[in-house]
């Protein structure tokens, strides 16, 4: 029975990794579409949504099947639970990438702006965070997962910065309010992606250490202390 379960878990592993790759590539393309004002690329991301959705449903069904048929325990149980939750976060990240792509379609029709919003930098950081946590998942690295939890602070800071810039810009050039709001909405989506990425990191720590670290200051505080990063 155990060999059967191990086979099922291996197959589940392949599925969740395929979904990770898909979502990561969607986010990369959505960000690219914003930066390059590329409507074709944006449309590709939007069209891909059904595929990620069905992959997410498949992963969940596989998890339920393993739980029902094999009653896994210990590391196997933690793996299934972590995958169930990571699966949901990945699906949400996929949705948010689609939202960004939709915003970028509208932005393509607006005039190009000369105001230096650091949306490109924020997008780049968000993408790297996602890549880092997915690599940590593949390599089972809880130290990397903890670093991801801390790294989210930078994305939040950039979001605040962009919101403040957008407010000022609207006052200065009210005619362009739509464009500014689209930019703010992209920043907001990126910030949410950062949060889902942190959730994945926390689930990864649970998977490896068997401890729930969500809603505890423990994860970030430790690394801040170690790195001398400001709280």
């Amino acid at each position: 029975m155990s060999i059967h379960m191990q086979r099922e878990i291996e197959s589940l592993k392949r599925r969740i990794l395929a979904l990770s790759a898909e979502v990561e590539s969607d986010l990369r393309a959505a960000v690219q579409a914003v930066e390059d004002r590329n409507p074709k690329l944006a449309q590709e991301v939007i069209n891909g949504e059904t595929r990620t959705n069905s992959m997410e449903v498949d992963v969940e069904e596989e998890c339920l099947k393993i739980l029902a048929l094999y009653q896994p325990v210990a590391a196997d149980l933690r793996y299934i639970i972590a995958v169930l939750k990571i699966n949901q976060d990945l699906e949400r990240i996929g949705d948010l990438a689609v939202h960004i792509a939709e915003r970028s379609l509208t932005l393509c029709e607006q005039p190009r702006l000369d105001i230096p919003f650091r949306i490109g930098l924020m997008a780049d950081k968000t993408r790297k965070q996602l890549k880092k946590v997915l690599d940590a998942f593949v390599n089972q690295r809880e130290d990397e997962a903890r670093a991801v939890c801390v790294g989210d602070g930078e994305i939040d800071d950039l979001n605040h910065e962009i919101v403040a810039q957008v407010k000022a810009a609207i006052l200065e050039r009210p005619a362009l309010i739509d464009t500014f709001l689209y930019i703010m909405s992209i920043a907001r989506h990126l910030e949410r992606i950062g949060d889902h990425t942190t959730n994945i990191a926390e689930d990864l720590i649970y998977l490896i250490e068997g401890r729930i670290v969500r809603h505890t200051a423990e994860v970030s505080d430790k690394i801040r202390k170690a790195d001398g990063v400001r709280p």
Binding site: S2, M5, Q71, P72, V73, A74, A75, G210
Partner: protein, 252 residues
């Protein structure tokens, strides 16, 4: 864990040249269910049988170390073994009622210990059968041969037989391995019910059974106690790699 009622300390057991238990330490909490798990031949039944000196009669069996029951060593000189087995009763793998009536099976231990007053015997038999959730099934056929009962009722009759002599601890050696899933569920429910008043130690091969019913689990391998702790912790995040390998089925 609850205050320990039994303390196993540096217990070593040899069957002739075979070292069956190697320096085993374990505390059994009062009014808790402790499950002993491990592969066949790991020594879990041997350990269970040490708790009421069932190994005494095995030829060539040699025991060192201590098993303290309420602070006193069971293996000290002058311990009344029959009295001990009343306080620490045992239910075996296969239901083994005596070839007597349902009533006489439960009354047997009472008669051995000298209780003859009919009304008192009747009262204890009824209370024990109720305690084992069997009364409603057998109250109209107390004179019927016990061996004609269905297997799970026979097993519950064996539990009632133990309860009759008012033990403090009940040892169960794979009590469900001869039973179907429905009967197993009944015995498990009974164990959870009995936990309110008795300390239970169970040997089981069934991981799910250990995780369903026990408060604490102890994993043994080749005569050694590898890991013992709260069942939830042991089945979600065992600390020893060998425990992990065994409970996830990667063993061997």
């Amino acid at each position: 864990m609850a205050a320990p009622v039994i303390q196993i300390e540096n217990l070593n057991l040899h069957y002739g040249a075979f070292h069956a238990l190697k320096n085993v330490n374990l505390a059994i909490g009062a009014r808790e269910i402790t499950a002993l798990i491990g592969p066949s031949g790991c020594g879990k039944s041997t350990l269970l049988r040490c708790l009421n000196r069932m190994n005494d009669l095995v030829p060539g069996c040699r025991i060192e170390g201590a098993v303290r029951f309420e602070e006193k060593d069971l293996y000290a000189r002058g311990v009344d073994v029959c009295g001990l087995r009343k306080r620490i009763g045992m239910v075996f793998q296969r239901p083994n009622p005596f070839p007597l009536s349902v009533f006489e099976n439960v009354a047997f231990g009472l008669r051995v210990s000298g209780l003859t007053d009919r009304a008192s015997v009747n009262a204890v038999v009824e209370r024990s059968l109720r305690g084992a959730w069997l009364w409603d099934y057998v109250k109209d056929k107390l004179g019927a041969p016990a061996l004609e009962l269905p297997l799970d009722q026979q097993q519950r009759l064996c539990v009632a037989r133990v309860l009759a002599v008012e033990p403090e601890v009940i040892l169960m050696d794979e009590p469900c391995s001869a039973l179907d899933p429905i009967s197993t569920a009944k015995i498990e429910e009974l164990m959870l019910e009995l936990r309110a008043a008795y300390t239970i130690v169970i040997v089981t091969h069934n991981m799910q059974q250990a995780s369903r019913i026990s408060d604490r689990s102890a994993f043994m391998l080749m005569g050694e106690m590898i890991e013992a702790g709260g069942t939830l912790g042991l089945f979600t995040k065992p600390t020893d790699k060998r425990t992990e390998d065994y409970i996830t089925g990667r063993f061997g």
